[in-house]
């Protein structure tokens, strides 16, 4: 193998993220400044973001030995994940000090998870697919349990680990069947073999097991049981990051596999995915209705949003760009919502997250914080002209185009259900008088993070065009792999 053929540049954003993670781990040995380490991590994530953005602006789609691709699809996922990492790091700067998390491990693991997510978005080989999934998962297991003094955090890590391991086993078994059926571990190789034996039971079985594994990872109903407890038990900044990043990466891999490898079997997988979408949207929203704890409510809402994204997945090739757009919009609004919760959280008493009552009268105490939360809630509910609305518009239009109008109808009905519980948060902030006198945290990083997220949510709503253009036609390159 000629060293010149190994185009390391094609995985540059991932490598930057990985290098930053290692740098943080090393710096932690000699440097005890929590904030400083946080800023170091932030610089790394920003560099990865810049690299991904630069490569998107550039041309060409080199691949890394056909193990990972730097096509536009992968780069957009890198962009979403690194943007999520930047926001999560911004809102962590003060939080890590406040709730006394071990800085080196926290930031290092977060970057490591981010690099795994970005690799997953680029993976074009079963081995890279599995390895990157494990990198991100193991880092997230540890992050979920990083608050070692808190039982809930430990419980979250344990649950996440056990069910995550199950999911990995399903995936691995599915991959084995795929290899058995097609004789290749390259996605392109499998894709080439699929049309020759479309009804091979081993192939269908492998596909089904892969679907189950990914359904676990993206928290689709009925494979979601771990989600509420893990999301509630993990530190809020971790929840913010994993609800967005792990979702983006999981969906990226799922979409790449389904759309590039199994287009010939569309008729086989459209209905399972569609049914998953319906169950996920509906169950997530109905369960969220009953929650009085905002963090747990956002956990269920996150399940519901996975359902909307699954509508886009079910639309097949037509839905790819909608899924990417939705992931970006969701990253902004969901991390933003968690940022507001973090501002309201107090060290020990709130390990389980902020109760709805804590939001009371926030408009009177911190009008800008409350205004930002209002933007996130309306956007999550899908009210125009905010980012969340265009995400839904995009995936639902793809569904209509693929003849799945029933999914679009169930989707919009679910949006209405979700409006009820998002509005409850706004009502608490705006319409109720101040209840508890807890002064929300003031911290520059938190303010910047919340501000970027809110501004992004509004701007992406008023002028979604640039992102629409960015996510258009990423698929054309996929087939070239």
């Amino acid at each position: 193998m000629n060293i010149a053929d190994v185009q390391v540049v094609s995985i540059l954003p991932q490598m930057i993220m990985l290098a930053a993670a290692l740098a943080v781990f090393l710096a932690d040995l000699v440097w005890k400044d929590r904030k400083g380490i946080g800023l170091l991590a932030l610089a790394g994530a920003l560099a990865a973001f810049a690299a991904a953005a630069g490569m998107l602006a550039g041309s060409g789609a080199p691949t890394f030995q056909h193990m990972a691709a730097a096509d536009r699809f992968a780069l957009v996922i890198s962009l979403v994940v690194s943007a999520a990492a930047v926001l999560a790091l911004l809102i962590s700067l003060d939080y890590v000090v406040r709730v006394e998390l071990p800085a080196g491990e926290y930031y290092g693991l977060l970057l490591l998870a981010a690099s795994g997510m970005m690799f997953l978005g680029a993976a074009t080989h079963l081995m890279t697919l599995f390895l990157s999934l494990e990198i991100l998962s193991i880092a997230l297991y540890a992050l979920a349990g990083i608050r070692t003094t808190d039982l809930r955090s430990g419980e979250a890590a344990m649950k996440y680990f056990l069910l995550g391991a199950f999911a990995s086993a399903f995936l691995l078994y599915g991959m084995a069947l795929l290899y058995g059926a097609t004789g290749s571990t390259y996605l392109a190789g499998i894709a080439a073999a699929v049309p020759q034996k479309p009804a091979d039971p081993m192939l269908i079985g492998g596909l089904a097991l892969l679907l189950v594994g990914f359904a676990f990872k993206v928290a689709a109903v009925p494979f979601h049981m771990w989600t509420p407890d893990v999301y509630q038990g993990a530190p809020s900044s971790v929840t913010a990051f994993m609800s967005v990043g792990a979702k983006a990466a999981g969906f990226a891999a799922l979409v790449r596999v389904l759309v590039t490898v199994f287009p010939a079997l569309y008729a086989w997988w459209v209905w399972p995915v569609g049914i998953l979408a319906v169950l996920t949207m509906t169950w997530g929203n109905l369960a969220a209705l009953a929650q009085g704890n905002v963090k747990r409510m956002l956990a269920y809402s996150s399940i519901a949003h996975a359902g909307y994204i699954l509508v886009g997945v079910a639309a097949g090739e037509a839905g790819v760009s909608g899924v990417l757009f939705y992931l970006m919009a969701y990253a902004l609004m969901n991390i933003g919502a968690f940022a507001v919760l973090i501002a309201l959280e107090r060290a020990e008493a709130d390990a389980a997250g902020v109760e709805l009552a804590r939001m009371s009268g926030l408009f009177h105490r911190r009008p800008w914080l409350a205004a930002a939360m209002t933007v996130f809630m309306f956007s999550l509910a899908g009210v125009p002209p905010l980012a969340g609305f265009f995400g839904k518009l995009y995936v639902f239009s793809a569904a209509v185009r693929s003849g799945l109008m029933v999914l679009a109808i169930i989707g919009v009905i679910n949006s209405v259900i979700s409006a009820y519980y998002y509005l409850r948060v706004v009502a608490r902030m705006a319409l109720a008088g101040p209840a508890e006198e807890v002064e929300p945290a003031r911290c520059l990083g938190l303010s910047i993070g919340t501000g970027i997220a809110a501004l992004g949510t509004v701007l992406l709503g008023l002028y979604p065009t640039w992102l629409f253009n960015l996510v258009q036609g990423t698929l054309a390159v996929l087939f070239g792999g």
């Binding site: 518009l393 009905i413 065009t465 629409f468």
Partner: protein
């Protein structure tokens, strides 16, 4: 841009938004200057809409002052505005009622100290609402229309929820969820239409003009109309989708009730014509008998409910449902007279219902209650209030010479030509309307003035300033209805032609 080169319509739509942003960055303790900015902005918008009326070319039936900019080209979504004779007069109506609403909000609005002092937020949302409403009346791209239509819910949510009466939280959530649920399916219908366009032309588009030309396979027009119609029926509201209305109208502060009844309800009627009759004439035709039955039930049910209300605000609220149901009936039969009546009555109703709700607000302010039984004999201590109430009330019951008469008469003539039973039932609603209105007036204004009613203060300068423009319009439009029917004539003829082309009702 447009043929004239000057983006008049964009200016009309976005001037209030600019005003809202200015209010937001203004010193929030400077209540007087915030009110001043809001008044200035709404007056400027009114002037612009009057300019649009003056520059409108009445002989043309099509869209005028069209603007077109690409917005989201990958999905064929664009920024398109335009005005025709049907939407023309909704612009000055909207602009005028917002001026009135700002004036009526000169005194602090709200039921507790915190909301009364939150002047900045109140005017921010009010101006934002104006952008939303004007956008709805002008948007010619279906997605843009939907964005304005839904975005309006946010200011409305806060205006009712923060500055409303005691049960405001309940009322505002009910309003929000009802309206959002009503319009959810409209989004799917819009996407489906875009896809139909994609199938026949190879490109997604949500351009209203292009979509009108599509040949939709039956029964697509019917179910698309049903999905759109549900959204409009909730907004008007048409029976049985009206249950949010008494709560929202009742709990909203007076200026917001004025806007809800005067302007927002017109969005539903506007939608039925612009996106029902004009996009899916066959769908409307097939659904017509069902819609007519609902509208007639609405007329009778709302009239009887109005008779039975103890709260004067609810009497006016139910009367509004009854009158608008008659307008919906006019859309359903869609002949020359009924459509002229629809155009006329949309403006007329907006004016007299605004005046009535303002009077209700003044009554409540003076006596601290809205229960009719608590009032009596107010004419003696407050004759000006009595006169204003009388004119507005007579305008509403359709006294010849006042504006309500023209619209209702045209509507009834149109109904009579198509289906006589509709005309008979519609006239029955008018008779009931005269009954509950006159009875309410009698119980409040006439008889002996006892206790606190004896020394109710009369209207003062500020009250008159709000009321007189509306009363003058009630009389002017009653005497010179051609001010509206003239410029709208060509458009109405074109609408009648479209309706006739699909063999309307017998």
């Amino acid at each position: 841009m447009n043929s004239a080169g000057f983006p008049l319509l964009s200016l009309i739509v976005f001037l209030p938004l600019a005003g809202a942003l200015l209010v937001l960055v203004w010193d929030k303790r400077a209540h007087a200057s915030i009110r001043g900015i809001s008044l200035g902005v709404t007056l400027a918008v009114l002037a612009l809409t009057l300019a649009a009326v003056a520059l409108f070319r009445p002989a043309e039936a099509g869209m005028q002052w069209e603007e077109h900019l690409p917005w989201i080209p990958t999905l064929g979504i664009s920024y398109r505005l335009g005005v025709d004779g049907f939407s023309l007069f909704l612009l000055p109506l909207t602009a005028l009622l917002f001026v009135i609403a700002v004036l009526a909000s000169w005194k602090p609005v709200g039921s507790d100290e915190a909301s009364r002092s939150a002047v900045q937020g109140y005017f921010f949302w009010l101006l934002l609402l104006e952008t939303g409403v004007l956008g709805v009346f002008l948007a010619l791209d279906l997605v843009l229309f939907y964005v304005f239509w839904e975005a309006m819910l946010i200011p409305m949510y806060f205006l009712i929820g923060r500055w409303g009466g005691e049960r405001r939280a309940y009322a505002t959530v009910k309003f929000f969820i009802y309206t959002m649920a009503g319009s959810a399916l409209m989004l799917v219908a819009i996407l489906a239409l875009g896809y139909f366009a994609y199938q026949s032309t190879g490109a997604w588009t949500f351009d209203w003009q292009t979509l009108r030309g599509l040949n939709l396979p039956w029964p697509a027009p019917l179910w698309l109309f049903a999905m759109f119609g549900l959204a409009f029926a909730v907004k008007v509201p048409v029976f049985p989708f009206h249950t949010w209305l008494p709560d929202a109208y009742g709990e909203a502060p007076t200026p917001v009730t004025v806007l809800l009844a005067g302007v927002l309800s017109k969005m539903g009627i506007y939608g039925f014509v612009r996106f029902g009759l004009q996009l899916f004439p066959e769908g409307l035709r097939t659904a017509a008998p069902w819609l007519a039955v609902l509208a007639i039930i609405g007329i009778l049910y709302a009239s009887l409910s109005a008779l039975m209300q103890k709260d004067v605000k609810r009497v006016v609220a139910y009367s509004s449902v009854a009158h608008l149901s008659l307008v919906v009936l006019g859309v359903v039969v869609a002949n020359a007279q009924s459509l002229a009546g629809v155009v006329m009555q949309m403006v007329s109703h907006g004016i007299y219902v605004a005046a009535l709700f303002l009077i209700v607000g003044m009554l409540e302010e003076r006596r601290g209650t809205r229960l009719i039984a608590e009032f009596g004999g107010l004419w003696k201590p407050a004759p000006l209030l009595g006169v204003c109430f009388l004119i507005a009330m007579l305008g509403a019951v359709g006294l010849p010479g006042l504006n309500g008469f023209v619209g209702e008469f045209l509507l009834l003539v149109g109904l009579f030509q198509s289906v006589r039973a509709y005309a008979v039932l519609g006239a029955l609603g008018m008779i009931l309307g005269a009954w509950y209105m006159l009875w309410t007036f009698q119980r409040i204004m006439q008889g002996p003035a006892e206790g606190r009613n004896a020394d109710v203060p009369d209207m003062r300068g500020a009250d008159l300033l709000v009321m007189v423009p509306l009363l003058v319009l009630i009389i002017i439009l009653g005497v010179f209805p051609n001010l509206i029917l003239g410029p709208a004539g060509a458009t109405i003829d074109a609408l009648v032609g479209q309706a006739a082309a699909v063999a309307w009702l017998p």
